[in-house]
């Protein structure tokens, strides 16, 4: 799968900085979109999400896509972000049996994939557990 640099670069606010949208109606959107997906308003401003959240649910996935072989198996979580949105996202730095519902998690930047054709490495946001003593 070829990755062309602009396709990753242009998503940098989403992938690296966790920029979301906040509508006048109170709805918080991730990724950012200029139109509110609840009320249809265009009064949506950009906000930087804290990256803190609660792990509501998780799974361990044993199938992968080409270019993602190095992170097998993949831990994936349903996360309620502090600002409201519930998202499904990859987890990182996790050992099996360590996860439980209700765990606190935080966003970190990690290598996502590498393109064998042009050597491009894609980075992006994953989530890791906030362990006791971390804070």
């Amino acid at each position: 799968m070829n990755v062309f640099p602009p396709q990753v670069w242009r998503e940098k606010e989403t992938l690296y900085r966790l920029i979301g949208g906040k509508c006048n109606c109170g709805n918080v959107i991730f990724p950012y979109s200029p139109v509110c997906n609840k009320c249809g308003s265009t009064s949506v401003s950009k906000i930087k999400l804290s990256g803190k959240g609660i792990l509501l649910q998780y799974t361990v996935t044993y199938q992968h896509r080409p270019g993602f072989e190095k992170t097998q198996p993949t831990y994936v979580g349903l996360i309620k972000l502090q600002e409201g949105p519930e998202i499904i996202a990859p987890l990182t730095d996790v050992d099996e049996g360590e996860l439980k519902e209700g765990d606190k998690v935080e966003a970190v930047i990690r290598r996502i994939k590498s393109d064998s054709n042009n050597g491009l490495i894609v980075y992006g946001t994953k989530f890791r557990l906030i362990k006791d003593g971390d804070k």
Binding site: L15, Q57, H64, E86, I88, I112
Partner: protein, 361 residues
């Protein structure tokens, strides 16, 4: 306003056809269909229902190419709406015919998914995820489904065995369907011990991805009655969109609501995952947390569904409509359910859009 009929249907067996390309399969379905009509049909509209042709066969302009291969001039439309492409195609044709200006529409669903290893197929299907984040960070739809399952298990206090009932039923039905890809029965033990895809989701909970093609001819009443005495009516269609949500499929709820209070005698639903079957049935009013416990009483997916009949991407919805049509006419060559009203629920992989199609004998 003109009544809309389904005047003819055809299917080829869903399989891995290393020897045929996309247009070969589409053409085979059309040839089978033409054999069933009294006269040489020159449809006003040709709709090609397909989701993944760019990635799988490096092809676009599918409907135009099909027209030119068949030696006909028509209004060419390729319709894509994820795995609900078939529902979108049939619903579009329904309204085109309702206009009165279009008299006939040939709809061909065809997809090639059989050439690829699982990882590449996961890549293809991940095109359903959003561009900014989900697709980029390497997620697969299976993870979404596994999380959906775990939340369901927690909410209703059921174990994995609850979901395993679905593939068992589907393979029971599919083993009777000559067009089915995985044409064999499985027992509970086999399902429970099958490959773990994304805990707790197992391979038998997922859709069997393969090649397929199915064609239907939709016409107005006047023309349809000339073509064949064996027709069904398209009574109504419904549609809705909604984001992926835990615990429900709002798009299915919405699409059913627009159909009104429908009591169908049988139905084909898009069971991309076993959990989706449960959630769809529960949107229809079957008891929440228990829908899969009473499958002997629910007239659903006599084809074997995506589990056993198989899942040929954007052709799936056309198979569903062909199957229900053949059921209502009493000519479906597999497990039969009798009745006069049949319902198709065509959704995409994660249920972010849904079409409902009500057929009546």
């Amino acid at each position: 306003m003109p009544n809309v009929l389904i005047s003819a249907t055809s299917m080829i067996k869903i399989d891995r056809y290393y020897e045929y390309d996309l247009m070969d399969l589409a053409t085979q379905a059309v040839v089978k269909l033409l054999e069933k009509t009294n006269e040489n049909i020159k449809p006003d509209v040709v709709i090609f229902s397909n989701t993944y042709a760019e990635k799988t066969v490096s092809q676009v302009s599918l409907a135009s190419k099909l027209c030119n291969n068949l030696g006909i001039s028509a209004m060419p439309i390729r319709i894509e709406n994820g795995d609900a492409s078939g529902g979108a195609a049939v619903s579009t044709a329904y309204y085109l015919l309702k206009s009165g200006e279009i008299k006939s529409a040939l709809i061909v669903g065809a997809e090639k998914m059989g050439d690829f290893p699982a990882s590449y197929l996961n890549e293809i299907v991940s095109e359903n995820l959003n561009e900014k984040y989900q697709e980029k960070v390497g997620l697969t739809t299976q993870s979404f489904s596994a999380i959906q399952m775990k939340e369901y298990m927690k909410k209703y206090g059921v174990t994995y065995d609850y979901f395993a009932q679905w593939p068992v039923y589907m393979h029971k039905y599919g083993s009777e369907n000559p067009y089915a890809y995985l044409k064999f029965p499985v027992d509970l033990k086999t399902v429970k011990e099958s490959q773990l895809v994304s805990d707790p989701l197992r391979i038998f909970d997922t859709a069997a991805r393969a090649d397929g093609a199915s064609a239907i001819l939709m016409t107005n009443e006047e023309l349809g009655k000339k073509i064949s005495e064996n027709y069904v009516k398209v009574k109504a269609v419904g549609f809705s969109t909604s984001e992926f949500r835990i615990g429900e499929i709002p798009s299915v709820h919405g699409a059913l609501k627009t159909l009104g209070d429908v009591k169908a005698d049988l139905m084909e639903i898009h069971d991309s995952f076993s959990i989706n079957a449960a959630l769809i049935l529960e949107e229809m009013g079957y008891p929440r947390g228990k829908s899969l416990d009473n499958l002997n009483e629910i007239p659903v997916n006599p084809s074997g569904g995506l589990k056993s009949r198989g899942y040929p991407g954007g052709a799936t919805g056309i198979y569903q409509v062909s199957e229900i049509t053949q059921q209502l006419l009493g000519v479906f060559p597999g497990h039969r359910i009798s009745g006069n009203k049949g319902l198709v629920i065509s959704t995409d992989e994660l249920g972010t859009s849904a079409y409902t199609i009500l057929l009546e004998r």
